[in-house]
Symmetry: C2
Subunit: 260 residues, 2 copies
């Protein structure tokens, strides 16, 4: 029996600054019937930032309903290495906020124990170079997400994964961990924190090789919407691991497709 | 019969700002006997910059004696695509100077026909992002050199190749061409421009997988010095393609080892 629905955000609930018609109302309706959660690879905003952001689209959510790769990175550090570590951040304020709150991180460019890399639109040579020096000296290398690019109104822009690629190439090693989708860390943590079981949950996303792959692998019902990246044509050519259980035009149809 | 000796610079003639003892005198002596040339992967300086820089170590050289990946990139563009192209540069003043002089490049961040990537210690998110947009829109992608890092007094720093890795990952494609060593472009151009034959030339360098590999592949006598990156222990473990013909302690012994 379906008890939880997890929605991806960009391409599913909104596109950039524009809400996708009918989705806020559908989410509100579903919130009266089962547990509704949100999960995004975005590392630039904190969970609190998303509480505010979702309000603009008419969606009410609490911090604990939302999983981001910023919070996920901080939670991973706190769990695995403990609080109060010296952390060099290549990332934006949302990532720093979560690292401070969830992991008690002490920010340091030099002699850091951990380097965390996310999207950073104020990236400089010095920030990457400090990351290289820290990792070569033995610091752990945590990549918030491996997305090569992300969509903007001006086309695709450089993503977190590409900043990570520069560090990997310079240091001759891959990240110690990748937090974001299609890795299962974010979804497993979210389900666990909310007492939900994958077999009783659905994931609604817009990307085959990221969202559908993750949902299938973790054992959730995979629901593809056509308001984001993937098209019906893409579905035909996708490998079995990336095939959605259900394809719908928009998340506004999510409840009907799931029989809720 | 040996008619030309080509010296790598950093790790061979000097280390950072310090000349390696006896090398300037040996170069001066060799210049009276055969053709002495210089070749470096460095893309941040122009050939003219190196004329001035070598003077500080007591070495006299003319612009045409020197091959750099900055000049090489500009020459490649001029040969392959013609002069006056719109070029987006991720790189420093030496690269821009050569692109202007040798290729008549018109610098443009938007709608560039060619993206040239070298070491850029003033790198910003916007510069890489503009590169991504240009390459995704069809611009040619030229990497000055693929060095992951370069040595500084503070340890290894982020190199040209790592900036290229970010662009490659974001765009989902490798560079259209890599100009610097171990690619043969620089050495073949230098020998051709100076009317030299590989079979009558030696290359003196400090790296097995870059300098010795290039020299062996192009058919020059490969001479390894131990004043830079490689150690005697490294030589034992190097594959056949990277083995030097001769190992000497320092380039100050180059002439004696070559029988000049």
């Amino acid at each position: 029996m379906l008890k939880t629905v997890v929605f991806d955000l960009d391409g599913v609930v909104y596109r950039g600054a524009t809400g996708i018609p009918g989705v806020a109302a559908e989410i509100s309706r579903l919130q009266g019937k089962l547990q509704v959660l949100f999960l995004t690879n975005n590392a630039t905003k904190s969970r609190q930032d998303y509480v505010e952001y979702l309000k603009k689209f008419g969606i009410t959510a609490e911090k604990n309903d939302i999983m981001t790769s910023s919070f996920g990175s901080a939670h991973y550090i706190s769990e695995k290495y403990g609080r109060g570590k010296k952390v060099h951040v290549i990332g934006e304020s949302g990532l720093r906020d979560e690292l401070k709150e969830e992991a008690g991180a002490v920010f340091a460019e030099e002699n850091a124990e951990i380097v965390v890399v996310g999207l950073d639109r104020h990236l400089t040579y010095g920030k990457i170079d400090a990351g290289v020096k820290n990792i070569l000296a033995g610091a752990k290398f945590i990549l918030a997400n491996s997305d090569p690019t992300y969509p903007t109104e001006d086309g695709l822009s450089l993503g977190s994964g590409s900043i990570g690629a520069a560090l990997s190439y310079a240091c001759g090693k891959p990240p110690d961990v990748i937090i974001g989708k299609p890795s299962l860390y974010l979804i497993e943590k979210l389900l666990q924190m909310r007492g939900a079981k994958a077999g009783e949950a659905a994931f609604v996303g817009d990307r085959l090789d990221i969202d559908m792959r993750m949902a299938n692998e973790v054992g959730m019902k995979s629901v593809l919407v056509l308001t984001g990246v993937a098209t019906e044509g893409d579905v035909k050519h996708a490998p079995a691991a990336d095939q959605p259980a259900i394809v719908i035009k928009s998340a506004a149809e999510a409840g009907r497709a799931l029989g809720i």
